[in-house]
């Protein structure tokens, strides 16, 4: 850190449009002591803040960066300014003077970056980060150093000794342990723990990814195993051996079926087919077999038809012959009984003629009877029944004879004859009908038999005898039927079983694939070269983290050892300034080193080892803060580091005696490095007036607008 060849120090300040300063003004503080006196709101603190801003930038108005709450509300630019804000520090540097200028645009937002320039002897110009690096290289203060060893801020006058971190930092600086502290701080920033957390987090995410990647195929495996379980294949059974057994069985069962139904060699499975090939083949097996089965079933149907036809023809032949014989016998019996139909028809013809004659006779008789009745009527109408009404000839007894003639008529006899003839005709008709029916029955049976015999002959091979031919043909047909049925049953059985077998086979095949996927994915991470590389990187990170921890431990151990050597000198220095500032202070201040789990902290204790900061009053605390402040600055000077003190209203809570002591301390220190003090007119300023030497410069700051600096 302290590689600078020359202790840089500021000698002049130029301010333009900064806080209370509108327009431009400058302050030369090349002297040992520069005292800025002024009433409240005169602008004294603004001058000191301008130095801070020039050196440290906008972080001075951040409550977080500075640790001073009220700084968060500060506005850097003069609110009524019409130009940019600029502060320039003239620095004494090796080989001459340099100018450090920080500029802020008029309308810049609060967190907007400033422009930073540094002009060095030889017209060398640095800007931005180059300037920051140069300031760091020369040992100019960062905020922590500034707060601890350069500036006594009135806003946080006592924090230097009451805040553990600030106190430890300052004392460690006084003990010459800045490098160790910086190393510890750097190691703290690197945070080995974060490396570990990052590595663990990465591995955790990978493990979760692996778990997720495994779950899907594993769930698939579980699902397939459950399906197989339902098909009575246990999870332990469901392996490659089972798959192979079933592969062979499927082929062995399919081959005879395929051959039986007449599939071609290309359509049949091969013994050396893989399980996947068998599975693919199995998907088309049913349709292939069914395609062959359709003509086979048709053939069987035809065959069964033939057998049925032959059997029924053969079986119907004899009854038909018997029936024909019966019909013949019946016909002949009727013929012998009634004669031939021709005879019967001739008889009926005769009867018909007789009937016709009788009916004529009956008609003529009827007409005669009508005339007789008419004659009787005439007789009765003439009133004389014994005389002919026409010729008036006597006709005694005529009426009576007429009546007797009408009564006897002859109708009944004719009717009787008619009835007899009709009855005989009816009988003949019935006999004729019987004969015709018997004749028809005989003829029908005869035709049927002839047809049957013709059919049967058609089924038999030419030249074969009927009975033997039928028997042989039936036997041949039945044998063929049995063969066909056997083939069809074999195929049906195979197809019926094949569905379930192929399902199990497919599941086994899928299970194997799913297990392979699960296995493959499971092995992914541990086998992946990228994972091995990641592990190597994590190993490196672990090594690095351990090295950092070891370095931190070493730094702490070294700090501990070094502090033991320097602690007496620091105690002396603090007590020296404390005795000047607070002459009545009776306690002896000692720096006490305390270990925590990860660092060393420093306390200020009395001779009995009791913590001082917890028991001192405000005046004593302020005095001790100033004493450690001077002591710390003194050590920086002795180390050849840039140093100048800025004291902003340092007399808080100090009575006249303490203010006199502080004036003496300031006068003593300013021989080592420049001191700039801003303060209200007080006993302290009067004491500095009294002690003023030619190298001191005393100025009065006027708060009128704009702020003016008047040398006294």
């Amino acid at each position: 850190m302290s590689g600078a060849p020359f202790p840089v120090r500021p000698t002049c300040l130029e301010i333009e449009n900064f806080r209370g300063f509108r327009g431009a003004c400058s302050l030369d503080f090349a002297q040992d002591l520069t005292l800025l006196m002024g009433e409240c709101k005169a602008g004294k603190s603004s001058i000191l803040t301008a130095i801070e801003w020039c050196l440290l930038g906008t972080k001075i108005v951040s409550s977080t960066s500075t640790g001073i709450a009220e700084r968060g509300d500060w506005i850097l630019a003069n609110t009524e300014a019409t130009g940019e804000t600029r502060v320039t520090l003239t620095l004494v540097v090796e080989g001459g003077k340099g100018k450090l200028t920080r500029t802020r645009a008029l309308d810049a937002k609060r967190n907007a970056p400033d422009q930073l320039e540094l002009t060095l002897p030889g017209e060398q110009l640095l800007t931005g980060n180059e300037v920051e690096e140069w300031l760091e290289w020369t040992g100019m203060p960062n905020w922590d150093t500034w707060k601890q060893a350069f500036a006594q801020h009135q806003e946080s006058a006592r924090e230097r000794i009451t805040d553990q971190a600030d106190r430890s930092y300052l004392i460690a600086s006084m003990l010459g342990l800045s490098d160790y502290r910086d190393l510890s701080a750097m190691l703290k920033k690197v945070k080995p723990k974060e490396l570990e957390e990052c590595a663990q987090e990465t591995l955790q995410h990978l493990a979760e990814d692996q778990q997720r990647a495994r779950q899907t195929p594993q769930q698939e495996v579980n699902g397939i195993q459950a399906s197989l379980q339902r098909l009575n294949v246990s999870a332990t059974q469901a392996g490659d051996a089972e798959l192979e057994l079933r592969r062979k069985a499927l082929i062995a069962e399919a081959l005879p079926v395929g051959e039986a139904v007449g599939l071609s060699a290309e359509q049949l499975p091969h013994q050396d087919w893989s399980a996947s090939e068998v599975h693919t083949w199995g998907a088309g097996w049913r349709s292939q077999v069914n395609a062959q089965m359709t003509p086979l079933r048709q053939e069987l149907g035809d065959l069964e038809g033939k057998i049925r036809s032959l059997t029924s023809s053969h079986e119907a032949l004899n009854p038909k012959r018997v029936a024909l014989a019966d019909a013949r016998q019946q016909l002949e019996g009727l013929r012998s009984k009634h004669g031939s139909p021709q005879d019967l028809r001739a008889q009926r013809e005769t009867i018909a003629q007789e009937l016709s004659a009788l009916r004529e006779q009956r008609r003529e008789q009827g007409e005669l009877n009508n005339l007789l009745r008419e004659a009787l009527g005439v007789l009765k109408a003439g009133g004389r029944t014994d005389q002919c009404p026409v010729c008036t000839q006597d006709a005694g007894g005529l009426e009576q004879r007429l009546q007797e003639q009408v009564a006897s008529g002859g109708d009944d006899a004719i009717q009787d004859q008619l009835d007899q003839l009709a009855s005989r005709d009816s009988a003949l008709s019935s006999q004729l009908q019987q004969l015709e029916q018997a004749q028809a029955a005989f003829q029908g049976t005869e035709d049927s038999l002839a047809s049957l015999e013709k059919t049967l002959r058609g089924q038999l091979p030419p030249g074969t005898q009927e009975e033997a031919g039928v028997t042989d043909l039936l036997a041949a047909l039945l044998a063929q039927k049995v063969r066909l049925e056997k083939t069809i049953n074999l195929a049906d059985e195979n197809l019926a079983g094949m569905t379930g077998k192929l399902e199990v086979f497919g599941l086994l095949l899928n299970l194997r694939a799913a297990r392979e996927r699960a296995e493959h994915r499971a092995g992914d991470l541990s086998a992946m070269p990228q994972f091995a590389t990641l592990q190597d990187k994590i190993d490196e990170a672990a090594g690095f983290a351990c090295d950092l921890i070891a370095l931190g431990n070493m730094a702490r151990e070294l700090e501990e050892e070094q502090s033991a050597l320097q602690i007496q000198a620091v105690n002396q220095s603090i007590n020296h300034y404390m005795s000047m500032i607070s002459p009545g202070f009776e306690k002896v201040v000692s720096v006490h080193q305390k270990h925590t789990a990860t660092k060393l902290i420093y306390q200020l204790v009395d001779s009995e080892g009791k913590n001082l900061t917890g028991t001192l009053n405000q005046g004593a605390l302020n005095s001790l803060s100033l004493a450690t402040f001077f002591a710390g600055a003194q050590f920086r000077v002795r180390q050849g580091l840039p140093e100048f003190l800025v004291l902003d209203d340092p007399v808080q809570s100090l009575d006249q005696a303490h203010q006199e002591g502080l004036a003496r301390a300031v006068k003593e220190f300013c021989k080592l490095a420049p001191v700039i003090v801003a303060c209200l007119p007080s006993h302290f300023t009067r004491e500095l007036e009294r002690l003023k030497s030619p190298d001191d410069r005393h100025c009065k700051v006027h708060g009128s607008d704009p702020i003016q600096i008047e040398e006294i």
Binding site: L195, E196, A199, Q200, L203, Q204, L206, A207, Q210, Q211, R214, A522, G523, L525, S526, A527, F531, Q535, I538, D539, A541, A542, G543, A545, C546, D547, A550
Partner: protein
């Protein structure tokens, strides 16, 4: 670690409960014996579980397992390991945490560098791991776990002892 090995170890842990540390120690012993060591002795002293002679050198192992991702070494463990190192031995802490991707770590013990009583993740021990030793059992450990998982679950320590007794290089002190 292969996931199958991790699962097997998980099954063993779930079955044997508190005995898991000892069971793993014996599985580790079998794994080391499978790599042809000159001798391997199980010891029942603080800070040393196994003592192996290989290439004429003695290596002592303190086996630490964890259900989580950290392990803790007691003062007695550390003192035991310190004594071993003082006696000129190479001492190792064998760490197996319970992450799916965690591997066995053979961490060389250096006195003063392992905090006492503090939960330490496997990350800490990775800085001290000895790749040669880990490589030695990388392939045998999963095989031994797979082969003897059933014995570990059913026969516990006694079952594994019977297997260990079959090795001429095995001993107990």
């Amino acid at each position: 670690m292969q996931h199958e090995t991790y699962q097997r170890l998980g099954e063993i842990r779930a079955s044997v409960g508190m005995e898991y540390g000892k069971i793993l120690q014996k599985i580790l012993a079998i794994s080391l014996l499978e790599t042809k060591v000159e001798s391997l002795v199980e010891r029942s002293v603080q800070g040393i579980d196994l003592e192996m002679v290989i290439g004429g050198e003695t290596c002592a192992f303190e086996v630490k397992t964890s259900e989580g991702d950290t392990i803790k070494l007691s003062r007695k463990d550390i003192e035991g390991l310190d004594r071993l190192v003082e006696a000129g031995n190479r001492a190792y802490i064998v760490v197996l945490t319970n992450g799916p991707l965690d591997d066995l770590i053979f961490a060389r013990y250096h006195p003063g560098e392992v905090p006492v009583g503090k939960e330490l993740s496997s990350f800490f021990f990775r800085a001290y791991q000895e790749p040669a030793l880990q490589k030695r059992i990388k392939s045998t450990f999963p095989v031994v776990v797979d082969k003897h998982a059933q014995t570990a679950v059913e026969g516990r320590q006694g079952g594994l002892d019977k297997i260990l007794e079959q090795y001429a290089e095995w001993g107990r002190a």
